[in-house]
């Protein structure tokens, strides 16, 4: 498997460390309800198909990368730097 690091280009999968679905980047706000934390930490859509997930270019440039990937074919359709997202959303923020 090869992943295109937005900074380094196409690289072997062995340079990367996987985290999981990219919902993990959207951290709940302080004081969010327990159900929100449960959802954030544990529950997953776990699709058989397209997913965006998180990879760390550990044997590389140290960028965290959001990868759009098909879990059935392993085909990768897009990658971008996690840091390049729009301002992270805060789920479950209590006003």
């Amino acid at each position: 498997m090869r992943i295109t690091c937005p900074l380094c280009g196409a690289r072997d999968r062995r340079e990367f460390t996987y985290y999981g679905a990219s919902v993990y980047a959207d951290r709940p706000a302080e004081g969010a309800a327990p159900e929100v934390w449960d959802d954030y930490l544990h529950l997953r859509d776990n699709p058989a198909g397209e997913i965006t997930d998180l990879w760390y270019h550990e044997l590389g440039c140290s960028a965290w990368i959001e990868v759009t990937r098909n879990t059935v074919t392993h085909a990768i359709s897009a990658t971008r730097l996690l840091a390049d997202r729009a301002t992270p959303t805060k789920k479950g923020a209590r006003s």
Partner: protein, 183 residues
Amino acid sequence: MASLIEKSACDGLLPRVAGGTVLSELPAARVTSVAPFAGKTRALGAALKEMGLGWPKPGEAVGTEGASILWSGRDQAFLIGADPAPLSGLAALSDQGDGWARMQLKGPEAEAALARLVPLDLRLSEFGIGQVARSGLNHMMMLIARTSETGFDIMVFRSMAASAVHEIGTALDAVAARGRLTS
């Protein structure tokens, strides 16, 4: 008062020769990591220009006589062989000169030997002179730069110098042995 004796990272390990290729330790040099502070990218670029350098793009090195700056990761570069003082206040600066074993691998078997260890496309057409990459030397973190058609500078963590020398040496020997095959 007595002074402390310096010891280089590859002390007693190098040089190593196989076929026409030599693995040797690069001379000691000042290495400083440079990470631009928020909003200071332009000023940092200007300061580097003053030094005859410039902020490197990902995968590139900018060099001048005696000094160079190598892209070394996300928003980070290694300034080598120059005093970082002019960059003070513009970027996070951190001494790295003692943290790395810096080696040069040069010779006709260099690319083939590295192909035993490095998951990078090192063909000259893809990784040309002046290009830099962060990758792995087998299981070790590595920074590699191509300095000539047959020459590479390689940096691994200082503590892993012995493993790196052993692995590159073994690969070199195997490549050299293939060269001795007649058919």
